[in-house]
Amino acid sequence: MKFKSKADTSVYSLEALKLASYILDEWQFKISTFGEIEVDGENPEKGFKELLNEALNQQCRIDLASKNSKIANIIITKAVLSALGEKEANK
């Protein structure tokens, strides 16, 4: 069963749609650069809705990463370098 529709690319970025498609393994998705989506699998319309839902979750995480990635990376780097015994980490 196939279902075709289009996602509003002003709401859902292509990156978020692609990330969402990796997570939902019940369906197969073909996503064009213009947001056209083809869903293959059982109840494909449901698959399309689930994709948009998950894309919102992914979009939220992408936006957060772009805002916080610098501080997040500093914290993780410090924790890992300290565990490795790198003296630089404690400066």
Partner: protein, 483 residues
């Protein structure tokens, strides 16, 4: 919720998170400082109105006003609270065997029956694990023997202790050894060895026999009476120690709250008090191992747990007011973080979590996991949290493994959409292993996570009680005990 007020130019505030609780609003910032305001005062701040000078002073002291920040003081508090970022792993969990003579309903350790030795850690594996534990740059090394029932593999435990004590002398590091045991295989000879080697004893005690024995079936006898017998023994040895060349630690016990515990908070707490135990740890069930399998029989929702927690905490406080000495461990740890800016060593409530950089779990077969929960998930056939193997990996391989780095990224609260805006962020943490088991992804979906609901609820209860004079005095007295 997170707020950055730009229009309030008079006060020039820094960004902060907030949460409404019964009786006010909790404000917190990235330094780990907090203020609890009345809703009226909070509204004034939001609207940019003038606030009383005492309030302005309080806010500036806690780093909420950018022009009046004592950055050195605030940073030193942050550094103290996050000292674990500078040390490397200290806790080393040794799963000496999967064999166990109990069949606990909520077991998350993947225990197997007592017969057969196929799941016993060999001496070679234990020795290599000790060597790896001492590879950490952390000057304080802890080894915790777990299982199954670790006493079931006594010869390896004995050798490991002797070897670790020798390594301690050579390395000049501090070494703490702990045994987590149901005590059913304990005898005087073993007890003597453990005490002489300064091993702290921790057991499971779920309350009076009618709850304990229901949660912890033991086909060879009465689990409760054996546990109590040995708690009394170790307590007596602790109390009577005099002129010894070694220290004897007070025994401690862990409570796992199951459905069978609900409604019996008084009976459980009274049991702890009657045994002279000074701390009780209201631990919720983790949806891992048998607990996940039998959730319908022993599980509960977060509201049920929080109702138990509140009643239990209020009862403990009332006992304290009558002069009895007992504290609740979760509250004690969170209060230590909130008021003392100190890391109490609870690895699940760190950012990032303690996976490999705070603790390492050494399985009986030589496989190494980021944590004990990750090891349990491995036992179920999914090695997502496996960081290496004692026979193939170096210490650096473990820290650099994808399992470690995956946990670092997913447990970083700055990467979690719900958490980074939460007022309780400075003192909280997420557990990728629990997320993975409950929600099929290490990131989790925090908004629907039971673990988050429980911790959020505990923080709410604590801040509410801190607003009451007598309760607050009791709660704050536990912080000094933790020192």
């Amino acid at each position: 919720m997170a707020v950055k007020i730009k229009e309030n130019k008079k006060l020039d505030k820094t960004s902060f998170n907030f949460r409404k609780i019964n009786g006010g609003v909790v404000l917190s910032n990235d330094f780990g400082c907090h203020c609890v305001l009345s809703e009226k005062d909070f509204e004034k701040i939001l609207k940019g109105k003038k606030i009383p000078s005492y309030l302005e002073e309080r806010l500036s002291e806690a780093g909420f006003i950018s022009k009046k920040m004592d950055f050195d003081k605030l940073f030193s508090g942050w550094q103290k609270k996050n000292s674990f970022l500078y040390t490397g792993p200290g806790l080393n969990i040794f799963v000496l065997t999967l064999r166990c003579n109990h069949k606990c309903l909520y077991c998350q350790s993947g225990a197997l029956s007592q017969n057969g030795k196929k799941s016993d850690m060999s001496w070679q594996t234990a020795k290599k694990s000790v060597d790896m534990a001492f590879s950490s740059p952390n000057p304080n090394i802890s080894i915790e023997f777990q299982g199954g029932e670790p006493l079931a593999n006594w010869p390896v435990l004995e050798k490991t202790v002797k070897y670790a004590r020798k390594k301690q002398k050579d390395s000049k590091k501090n070494l703490f050894i702990a045994l987590v045991s149901n005590l059913s295989l304990m005898d005087e000879k073993k007890a003597e060895f453990l005490l002489k080697n300064e091993i702290s004893i921790c057991t499971s005690l779920d309350g009076p026999s009618f709850i304990h024995n229901k949660n912890r079936p033991f086909s060879l006898g009465n689990s409760h009476s054996l546990t109590v017998k040995w708690i009394k023994y170790f307590m007596k040895r602790h109390d009577e120690q005099k002129d010894l060349s070694y220290r004897i630690f007070k025994p401690s016990a862990l409570l796992t709250v199951s459905k069978n515990s609900l409604g019996f908070h008084k009976e459980i707490i009274d049991e702890y008090v009657s045994l002279g135990l000074e701390s009780i740890f209201f631990r919720p069930l983790s949806p891992i191992g048998y607990a996940a399998k039998y959730w319908d029989k022993i599980g509960y929702n977060s509201k049920e747990f929080l109702s138990f927690y509140r009643k239990g905490l209020e009862y403990i406080i009332s006992l304290n007011l009558k002069g009895k000495k007992i504290s609740e461990k979760t509250a004690q740890m969170l209060l230590t973080k909130i008021f003392d800016f100190k890391d109490p060593g609870f690895l699940d409530l760190r950012c990032p979590c303690g996976a490999s950089v705070g603790q390492i779990a050494y399985n009986w077969d030589g496989s190494i996991y980021t944590c004990d929960e990750g090891r349990m998930i491995g036992w179920e056939g999914d090695d997502f949290f496996k960081a290496g193997d004692i026979n193939k990996s170096s210490y650096k391989d473990i820290i650099n493994s994808s399992a470690t780095k995956g946990c670092m990224v997913t447990s970083n609260l700055e990467n979690q959409p719900m958490c980074f805006r939460c007022a309780y962020k400075p003192w909280c943490g997420v557990c990728p292993a629990v997320n993975y088991e409950a929600q099929k992804t290490p990131w989790g979906n925090i908004i629907s996570s039971q673990r988050c609901e429980i911790f959020m609820g505990i923080f709410d209860i604590l801040f509410e009680l801190l607003g009451k004079k007598r309760e607050s005095e009791v709660l704050k007295s536990w912080i000094s005990e933790d020192k």
